[in-house]
Symmetry: C2
Subunit: 370 residues, 2 copies
Amino acid sequence: MTKAPTVYDVAHHAGVSIATVSRVLSRPDDVKPATRERVLGSVAALGYVPSGAARGLAARRTGVIGLFFQGLDAMDDLGDIALEGDEASAGGARIIRDVPERADTRVLNLYFDEVLRGCELESWRSGFSLLVGVGRGDTATQTVRDMAGRVDGLMVLAGSASEEELAQLSRHVPIVVMAGPRRGDELDHVSVSNAEGMRALTAHLIDDLGARDLEYVSGSVDSPDDAERWDGFVMAHVERELSTPATPTLRGDFTRDGGRRVGRELMQRERLPRAVVCANDQMALGVIDAARIAGVTVPDELIVTGFDGIDAGRLSTPRLTTVRQPMETLGRVSVQALARRLAEPKLPAMSVRLPVEVLLRESSEPSSTS
Amino acid sequence: MTKAPTVYDVAHHAGVSIATVSRVLSRPDDVKPATRERVLGSVAALGYVPSGAARGLAARRTGVIGLFFQGLDAMDDLGDIALEGDEASAGGARIIRDVPERADTRVLNLYFDEVLRGCELESWRSGFSLLVGVGRGDTATQTVRDMAGRVDGLMVLAGSASEEELAQLSRHVPIVVMAGPRRGDELDHVSVSNAEGMRALTAHLIDDLGARDLEYVSGSVDSPDDAERWDGFVMAHVERELSTPATPTLRGDFTRDGGRRVGRELMQRERLPRAVVCANDQMALGVIDAARIAGVTVPDELIVTGFDGIDAGRLSTPRLTTVRQPMETLGRVSVQALARRLAEPKLPAMSVRLPVEVLLRESSEPSSTS
DNA sequence: CGAAGCAATGTATGCGCTTACACTCGCAAG
DNA sequence: CTTGCGAGTGTAAGCGCATACATTGCTTCG
């Protein structure tokens, strides 16, 4: 934490000019081996660490790409965590009998975790560092602009920023929109076959399992993902000349609790639908919770399906039939798209649509499979 | 993507000097309201985005903190993902009958996901951006130095970088070591009560459940976490004047597959131990897999316990008894520690030790609880 | 033996901002 | 009518690096 050495210090120590130091660090082959070794020796001796800011400023690129997304709702009511005093705090272990009913207070955002992991992975492979930013409420605009000012390229999860905002920012840095519908813009898009997946799943329920009365549980009116899934649901019906309401009748909020609530409402009906098709896995798990409490067996009395393919659905009982999104792949491909755009800025805008997998599991399948 | 406007452009457009523009953006109150509005108008009109690099260089702080960790093993053999052509690729949906036995090829690193989430959360709350970097093999040193050069502070997951490396880097930026044992260094540490937790769990198995012969499954010789957990295991034995081997006899590799392998070996013994205490959850789940295949019931014939408290253990059947680490809290507290260090650089090195929770669930408890 | 060419290194400029300091007012106090 | 002062703004000096261009010292070839 003393004053950090700079190129000048290293140059002086090694008896060369700063240009040579810079070259040793960026294009070592342009320097005579003897000098190179000497410079590297000085670097090590002084503990020199190049300033990313100065480097970025001079070179006009930073080697950092950004990932911006909307924060979790739960972030709002997040308490402070006391940072203990200067001395080591006690630590310790508490024993808890963890019965299944204990409320799960943890904030889960499994969807995004996987996307993030894909981004990390691919950033590493491509030699970029990854700057992760979450926006929340009114600071969101500020945050995303700030990020745009310090990265070479930006990936934005659909819905995290307004289109105008993105359009403006895209004049500074290339932007890849993730998991959103392709708009009439010039941005690069990487998305997922939401409609296709939901359509295929719905078709399976109708054609193969003979279900006729299906209910759709939506997560949020604003979510473009949800809208596309609903479209797929409707499409499968229309193709078979079956009718659906104009808009989803059951509304959750993408959370397990929301699913439970919707499930409870459903269980009070005098007649259950054959299948409940949920816009995501968490809500589906919630519906299954409600069914279990009401003594309704899944899938015999009620088929429940989800969307996303999170781990929790693979580990639940019964395991959840779902449409698995390639979330990690989404992250990876987005980074690749960005890398490509950076390499060739004048390519026309591209739009990649990733295929999904409909995973048939016990929450929908006849028990023979189990 | 045209040439980006700079302070000069904004200043000219608003008819002020660049200093005023800068002030409007950093300390708005120092500027007369009328001028401020005019400048903000120009900013909006030009779509000005300040350069993070220039800002960081001039101000000597960037508002970015870094999180560095060792990459996943699976990163090595990671195939390429084809980025489709310029036109929209087909997308689509494939239907798959997902029987339970299907291999789980996904790379899980649930542990780190939660720490990362905690860091994100708290960074956002503290007004920092988070730069995430993974190191892998020989590029690790390069990566971490690079990060050190562009952040105000750095959090390093224990074991991701050598102590000398950290000592050197800490002369440039404050460093917080996460989840590692406190060394005799001047770095700030945030860690978790590994030994305490394992000791409490082991004591419970011995005292309350009457287990006498316990086996410990270690994950890696190099892991300081593992070493501490082993210490706790031994401690509980020593306190009761029971003996243990000098070093763990069963070795997994922290993966579920590794746990399965160890489990298979165990199942071939003529006499099973009463309990298998695993150094993490994934291995414990693998051991349970092996037990199920061998027809051994958990917990009646064999008690299995894990460590970490990942979701998969909460959702498994039977649910896994484990020691839950406050991983998200670990991330959050680390950010706080760093923020505090940045605010008051000359504070003495601090060491925070977070408490853990021993979660008793059905993989260890008599079935009456179930 | 001299000119040309090349490899290796040095010199000097500027990237876009922050900030110490200088400066200009307008106004209250002397 | 000065002087002093503070609010508001401008001037200018870097921050630490990359890089275009200049320079140097060799080698090579005519």
